[in-house]
Symmetry: C2
Subunit: 296 residues, 2 copies
């Protein structure tokens, strides 16, 4: 399983990552994250399943209500079903948003995988030099190797900087998306659940004695209105998540209050800076240029 | 599959429900709800799976962070993992609460199943009388049957009243629990997600150029504090769901406002503490009063 995951995810790069078996000081860079990305995939699958089931159950509830032959139960179970189905839809949307977050993690994994060869190369030359110095210290090839090593070190220096920049920027971006998705699902499902509770309030459950007839159901209009209210409120939903700040910002914020709810002007600004702060990572020539290069 | 579900769920009562095959005017009372209850079971299972996966992924994230050898990433990924694991725990708690709601639905199903024989009995006698009146109108057994029918009708009258009362009360109760569970998961996960976003704010993703060393990581204390804040806020979470009203109440409520979530001072507070995600919905004062009403 774990092996399979590594194979799948590192695919073409496997020949390089083999070198990690030489010693612990060289971790197989992208293995851990590859597994995480794989697990995330099945977690997302579980949310999708839950969403689908919810929608099916919602229509089953409506069908059941109709079958009771009770006008009130029939109407309200149908409208309750509409709410529950939408809660299921939101579960599904949540899964899609998590998928986006997962996609960003893949960028870190790819960068990790692409940095591995550069580390291996440097190590290989270092080892070769050591060996030769021991066996044949006067060998002229040593000079060539020393030059190769300098080049390999320079190349690795760039690779490590790219890795550090990508890791931090993309980790931030991935969990920005992830946590925003959690909040979106939560806020929207709260709207739906609260309106669903209003529908339940229309069920007259005052007990009837044998032979009695219930007072006729007259809340059809109210129920219809509640569903409309829910639709309206859901449509007007807007994300109000606090933008991800920078360390200094956050320290300041945390001095002033332990609370989280943002909304001040500079918060609104830092939505921009927070986002473009991520792009800033790409904006530095030394690190951004190679970032655009296809992963080898 | 559907057959299996019926068997399983009606178990001992199966011999009675067979009678429904005689005609469509007699629905197999508890079949539809039995299936719904079965589907709900697998939906709950999906939420449990998602919760478990989340917890596993959270620790994988922490492990990965450690393996990067980047002090900041190591500390923050670990603490972010704590938050994500708790989000998973909440997913699991949600599943447990849904299970309670499902248990209440079973009470309706059982009542349906127990009412079926009474309906069948009455029908059986009615049929018998009709047959006899046609074949042998003077048969004295008719008198006995008429008496039996009166008793069967009386018994059925009680059964139907019980069914109506149970259906309405338990349907209300089941989805009261269900929607309250949706809201609890939502509100708690919003708390966790918002604090998680504060942690992300501690990741310094300003780009480094090759050879540069990053400024040392100094947010360990802040990060620890954020996790503490989240724990405190989560521990102090309290349900503030609007109690399920009665039809009359709800009509009144719906006259005053279309929206549900209140917007008075204490609501603003709860926004500040990040307890309620639905800021948008929290704008209508008129509907906040019913929130305070005791559960009837």
């Amino acid at each position: 399983m774990s092996i399979r995951s590594r194979r799948e995810n590192n695919s073409g790069r496997h020949r390089f990552t083999m070198s990690t078996f030489r010693g612990m000081q060289q971790p197989e860079l992208s293995k851990k994250l590859s597994r995480l990305i794989k697990s995330e995939n099945s977690a997302i699958g579980a949310h999708e399943t839950a969403g689908r089931e919810r929608i099916a159950i919602a229509s089953a509830l409506s069908e059941w209500g109709e079958s009771t032959g009770d006008e009130a139960i029939s109407d309200l179970s149908d409208k309750l079903g509409v709410m529950l189905a939408e809660i299921g839809e939101q579960e599904d949307l949540y899964a899609q948003n998590l998928e986006d977050s997962r996609g960003v993690l893949k960028q870190i994994r790819n960068m990790e995988a692409s940095v591995q060869p550069s580390r291996d190369q440097r190590q290989k030359i270092t080892d070769e030099i050591a060996k030769l110095k021991y066996k044949d210290p006067t060998n002229t090839r040593l000079v060539t190797l020393e030059h190769e090593l300098v080049r390999a070190e320079a190349q690795n220096l760039v690779a490590e900087a790219q890795l550090s920049n990508t890791t931090r920027t993309k980790l931030k971006e991935a969990y920005d998306l992830h946590t925003a998705a959690v909040i979106e699902r939560a806020e929207k499902q709260i709207i739906l659940a609260r309106h669903a509770r209003r529908l339940l309030g229309l069920i007259d459950d005052s007990p009837v004695v044998p032979g009695d007839v219930r007072s006729a159901y007259d809340s059809e209009e109210t129920a219809r209105q509640i569903v409309e209210d829910a639709e309206t409120e859901l449509r007007s939903w807007e994300s109000n998540v606090e933008p991800i700040g920078s360390p200094t910002e956050d320290v300041a914020r945390q001095m002033t209050s332990g609370s989280l709810s943002g909304g001040t002007e500079q918060d609104m600004e830092s939505i921009a800076t927070g986002r473009s702060g991520v792009e800033a990572g790409h904006a530095v020539p030394s690190s951004s240029k190679p970032l655009e290069e296809p992963v080898v």
